[in-house]
Amino acid sequence: MSFTHLHVSSAFSARYGVSWPDELVRAAAAAGADALACTDRDGLYGIPKHFKACLRHGIDPVVGVDLAVLGPGAGRVVVLARGNDGGAGYTALCRLVSAAHAGTTSGGRGASRPVGVTPGELARWAAGPVGDAGADRAGGAQDPRAGAALTVLLGPQSDVGQACLRRGYGQARQLLERWRAVLPPGALAVEAVTHVNRPGARLSTAHAVRMVRAARDCGVPAVLGNAVRYAEPDGAATADVLDAARALSTLEALDDLQPNGQGWLKEPAQMHRLAGEVAREAGGGAGLAAELLAETARLADHCRMDPVGDAGWGIPVVPEARVIGITGDPARELAARCEAGITRLFPDGGDTRLRGRLATELDTIASLGFCSYFLTVAEVSSMIAAMGVRAAARGSGASSLVNYLLGVSHVNPLAHDLLFERFLSLDRSTLPDIDIDVESAERHAVYRRIFERFGRERVTLMSMQNGYRARGAVRDAGLVLGFENAEIDDIAKQLWRFSASGFRAALAEKPELRGFAERVGSERQLDLLVDLTERLDRLPRHISMHPCGVILGDSGLLDRTPVQPSGLGLPMSQFDKHDMDPMGMLKLDVLGVRMQSAMSFALREVVRIHGSGDAVAAAGRHPLGTDGSLPPFLHGDGRIDLERVPLDDEPTFELIRSTHTLGCFQIESPGQRELIGKLAPREFNDLIIDISLFRPGPMKSNMVKPYLENRHGFARERYPHPDLVPALAETHGVTVFHEQVLRTFATMTGCSLAKADVLRRLLGSETQEPAVEAFFRSHATARGYPLAVVDEVWETLKAFGSFGFCKAHGAAFAVPTYQSAWLKTHHPEAFLAGLWEHDPGMYPKRLLVAEARRMGIPILPLDINRSCAEYRVERVDAGKDGPPGGRLGIRLSLSGIYGMSATEVRRTVAGQPYASLADVRDRAGLTRSSLERLAALGAFDELQRRSGPGNRSDLVRHLREAAARRPGVRRRQLPGQLALPLPDLELSALRALEPAPTAEETVRTELDLMALDVSGHLMDSHAPLLAELGTTPAAELLGLRNGTEVLVAGVRVATQTPPMRGGRRVVFISLDDGTGCVDCTFFHDAQENSGPLLFATRLLLVHGITRRTGPRGISLQALQAWDLSVRDALPGPGHLADPGRARPQPPPGRAAAAGVPAPVGTGHPRARTADGTPGALRGAALAVRMEAEGLDNRLPAGR
């Protein structure tokens, strides 16, 4: 007995389907089916996953879509593609789905028109793609089989199905006849569905019977389906929740919930029984049942698809070489361009090592047939450069010398020992990933340019699926159950970084959920809320444009993927990043990086403010040549070529070691600042290592501590075998990089690096790893390595191999890291202006204002005549004691003001300078409220100072009164009319009545209108309270001994829960108190003591113990926290002497005598020891020694 389901929605029917393609295929295969359809709503979103699942479970995929028909009451139909026809059916379906989305707006917003197709479009594509100009590939494949390319299934939701439900028998037949007249022959079938609902109702057996009868009367084949939404009956409740969430309704109020829970993937026996019930009720007996089932099987056979032959599964496709202007052999062209790169980058012609490497790479690339791909990437890269946009390759692409020579990457792989095999080898045939970072502000322009360059038929953006995460899931579960918004908000706020599926488990262990957990079980519906939240976990909600993926193909790309409009207006594929490789699609990641924009902005500011290379060299203290010549990276007009800045600038490394790295790429987070303090980088390679260590794998597996101990000479470097020294020396014997794993495999087994990378990729796989271990052990033993060495190395490979970091990634990241630190060191004003303008980091802008204050950089207030649409570096007179030429400050921009439109900003800037308030009023075209806000922020202070009495408050009052006198009148100067050079009568007549605003009021206004506290710090107003409590300012912590108990207070600027060893969560909260930033680490007990304050409170008081993290770094191990704004709950003065206060718990395993709290990220000191002494003892000895030395880790370089 067999049955093929032809109408199945997977989870990729967003907010509709419940089960993943793999679950559905597994269930179908287990029930004995040899084919299964996937017919998601509105798209082919789930098809690549469906292919994959079908290939895995050995059944045939059937591919279709569930689409709305445009027009009132036109309903929905399922459209199935014919299979095994050289791709004609699949192409027709892709084109049909794209047509359904053409002219819609992304996400249905603004609703230009709904997603759907006309019967005419269905007819056009059902006839097949032949004749369509764009479809060469499928057009070439002639229809080898009879029947239409697409089959339209009219089911219960179609117009025919709805007429049947209303007992409109005549109408149903009429509609059916009309469909038959429109569609090509053989393209139509009726789909009878019974969910065995209450007799006569929607999806009842009677409903199905009427449809079968209508089909028979008109001579249209009828098939049986079950309109499946979930693999098992259990999914029905989830489908209910999705129905209600989709309609933004409660379950109680929704009137078109699915009628019951029968929409599951029923087994063949059950479907045969339903066929029998339908036939019996229709009066047709066993013959009719058999006919229904036979038609279903016949249609299924017609639609069985071959993923490879029909959809190009696994066959990489790149743009035709002629598109990038290459007519000859692409391999020869690639080699020629690499030669040109050598001439440019290695004037001496390159040594034999470089030549050998280049030959290997070119051979590999040519053998894999990827020459056009590399040329394509090079083309994109040089196109971006020609646009004047900063760009840098990231990822394993940096491992390739070819990429370096083509100008795609800026890292010389030979200089950093990066292995090409990690990127590409003959042992793998997947398309390599080359990622290009560009200035975020220019990203969309770059996309548009790529579309223009390669043609709209070859390019589309990639999409991404946005699934339910904990917060969204609890909100929707709350919505459908009818919870109050505010109540759900309170719960959602406490959900922090765990998947919705673990909600109930999280309730048991997370302190911030304690309050909620106590209510569950006692309050009705809270248990349901938890269950429904878990049910929604990960289910797709909608698709959106992927932040960086651009798909490049040949002219047949749109025959292979359906596209729909993205938020950007450009088309995006319905496939996501997981589908690229299997669908043979070439994806280029063009990622917008705000830091690149910030740096680009800073470089422009440097040129603008200094104007010449000499002035830049003086201001940035850049070393001149002995003959007074400018350094090579600096042009005469003041332009700096960041890519040519030497990577060994000592002042830059000093800044990095100081841990004052706020604003620097990759190294500004609290965890990174702590690590960088401990690691104390001296050279570029240290930065690569730092970035590579600050990853989940190394943090969890305790690689950091042994590395640091070895680096600083506290422990002797140790290698399992002398043969491994070359591979592991750069990280003092600790395996950090993928490249080291590759070399270890190659050294000990004698295998090739390419093979080693294949082995590495299998590490961590439950099924494959044993084979890798067997291979490693037998070959290493055969090569004479002792068992103990083999054992030890295998343990390391097993532990680190699967999640270590690719050094090329680290190297690519380290470039902008270094460049940003270099700019912060040499041109801090321009750099900060760039940061404020483009906001690249993790912190709120106000923290960077505090950073400017700490660095002594003047922040210049808003000024109607000086502020622009951007933050600007400005020369300030520093008085007679200041440096000649003045100091540099940063002028606030008009753009960040609440309520002021971009148009107002543009007009205001265009009208500068203004002679008087009346002049502003006349020419700037500001609304009354913007005028008042500018006055309150002091933008007219300068005008006012020139003209007369009064202060900001007087002016604000004056503007209000004036507005009241002349409602709605706004005089605008006519073009060409000149302002009379009169004194500012309006301002000089101002009555000085109001007291000047207090500092606190000014700060409040700034925060309200700009979200920045510029003139003072937000915490200043709490000074009396803090003095009473006896808190320590952040700036003074560095002077304290390690282990000093203190109170600190400040504004939360960041919260992080980085990955930690052993899976125990650690929460980092960074506070800014105006003197600097305090990083507070909350371990388990402190989290218990702080509960709901952890994630929801803005102003915090924290009691803790100082922990020195490096020569210049200090942080706080928190013991307890309070909400500073809840005065009653705060501890009294003298808390630090209170015997009842929280005390640190010495971590288990560490000798208590040392009294040092465990450093973050290192956990237990069970370091692998150099000389075999027990780990705990050595750990204690080490702790004592580190304590004695004040943790000044900087020993002379001992390498």
Partner: protein
Amino acid sequence: MGLFTRSIDVDCTTSGLPLRLRWEGREYLVAAEPLRWFERRKWWAEELRAERGRGPGLVDHEMWRIQARLAGRGPLRTFDLSRHAETGRWRLVMIHDALKESA
């Protein structure tokens, strides 16, 4: 017409079709082909939990409409019964008015 939710004994054929009902000490014989459907439940109001993996029976329950005669001879009466998915136990939901039903 009356509304009930009381246990009722039902004897079935081997293929699961009801044959006989025993209710209030009397036996009714099924007199016409029974109708079966799945009726929705307002599970969110009736249940305290809806955890994943709970299986069938949360969102709907199986209903049977059975026409039967007392001892095979009395007037035709229509019973709505529900069958519990897991336990297979039957409950009587409703007896329809005989007159209305025949109309």
